[in-house]
Symmetry: C2
Subunit: 235 residues, 2 copies
Amino acid sequence: MTERVVPEPQRRRRKPTKQGTVLSEQVIVATALRLIGQHGAAALTVRRLGAALGADPSAVYRYFHNTDDLMLAVADELIGRAQHGLELSGDWRADLRAIGMRVHAAYQAHPQAAMLAAHRTTGRDNEIRAVETILGVLRSAGFPDREAVPIYHAFIDQALAFASQDAAALALPAPARAADLAVWRVRYGRLGPDTHPNIAATAHLLITDMDRSGYPFALDLLLEAAAARLATHRA
Amino acid sequence: MTERVVPEPQRRRRKPTKQGTVLSEQVIVATALRLIGQHGAAALTVRRLGAALGADPSAVYRYFHNTDDLMLAVADELIGRAQHGLELSGDWRADLRAIGMRVHAAYQAHPQAAMLAAHRTTGRDNEIRAVETILGVLRSAGFPDREAVPIYHAFIDQALAFASQDAAALALPAPARAADLAVWRVRYGRLGPDTHPNIAATAHLLITDMDRSGYPFALDLLLEAAAARLATHRA
DNA sequence: CGCCACACGTCAATGCTGTTGTCATAAGCG
DNA sequence: CGCTTATGACAACAGCATTGACGTGTGGCG
């Protein structure tokens, strides 16, 4: 088969579908994101996307080579949203915390896309802008370059790793997600102090703690350690 | 339909398949792990699993309720392998570092499985044992329960999140992985100090640092912060 | 030692999924 | 105004997870 996809800038003839909608790369990406957000990750199938667009499913293949291609376009959209409207305060620790939480939140809003996006290095504009910003925060806080780089590395990898980890949990089919959560109550909550003394002693704390993301606290620990290191550099 | 799955301990009648293999939960999990390792995560379909086992695909449903149930068993097997032969020294910080690195390593050995498994709560034996061990290390180090639980949470989520993050990179098709790595040299290495001063100043460090996993350093930071908190509790 | 219940492997069918070859139509250039 | 062709629609294919029905032979019991 000859290539179905025509690059966006060359498109001129926009022909409405039977149901009247006019397709475009933009509209399809936006619809895909909406579908994921409204009905969960599993809702994004080409057939349902077609239905949501008011078009034949195969029409999507006029705009994207395959579903992976579509997901990359969606992912690219996400990177932009993570940074949208960010303003730096000048307090390095508060700024890094804000950036970390923003990245995490932006990816949680679109778990399915997050899982595919979080471990890729895109080298595109939005990513570069983020790297420059974070390194800038660290270096102007006073971290020497040899320290700033590994801290940047740990910081961003941890943010992305937790983002995709938590996204994966969100992207799970609803029954599986519920089952995973229930395990803490049902399974861990009932272990005896004779066989599992440490779990039994802390079960009540575990049950409430484990259905939150561990990220905010992990981020705080990372920033605490970084601050301690900065103090020794200054001394 | 009545329940197909009979709990493992109650199984007595082992009937060989047409091709002569004798099935069991163990054999199926091991075969699934091998299949994933050899041919990638996409290779794990019930049909192919059946073929690899020398059995009808539907026979798998005599042992697992569905594919998700199977993945949980695979996940637990990985957790078990991470703990195999672990010996605690009594030095909480060294022990936690060893456990973290072991978990990370065990998952890296099966990247494709790690991606699917690292974000599940299995509630199975190996997982429970790991939770009990880690909580024990923290509590006997002197962390009060209210502090031990969130630190446990941050610690284990960090290990698993990085494990699946790094696994995802390893599991990428070779050309895509090479491309992602090259981005640091090709794209970031060539940004000008006028437009991207912080990247330009640290590019040489970034290029060498970013193709390693950020986990060991991130783990050190977490343990550093935990140690500092422990010191304040003792004082 | 032989019987027979039923555990468990097999077969077949269902309704999903992504993807593509082919055709019809209308947009918009010349 | 007509021609080209971009683009939507249709239909079909292969592969997916899952399940209901069925037959077989294993292993415990009398």
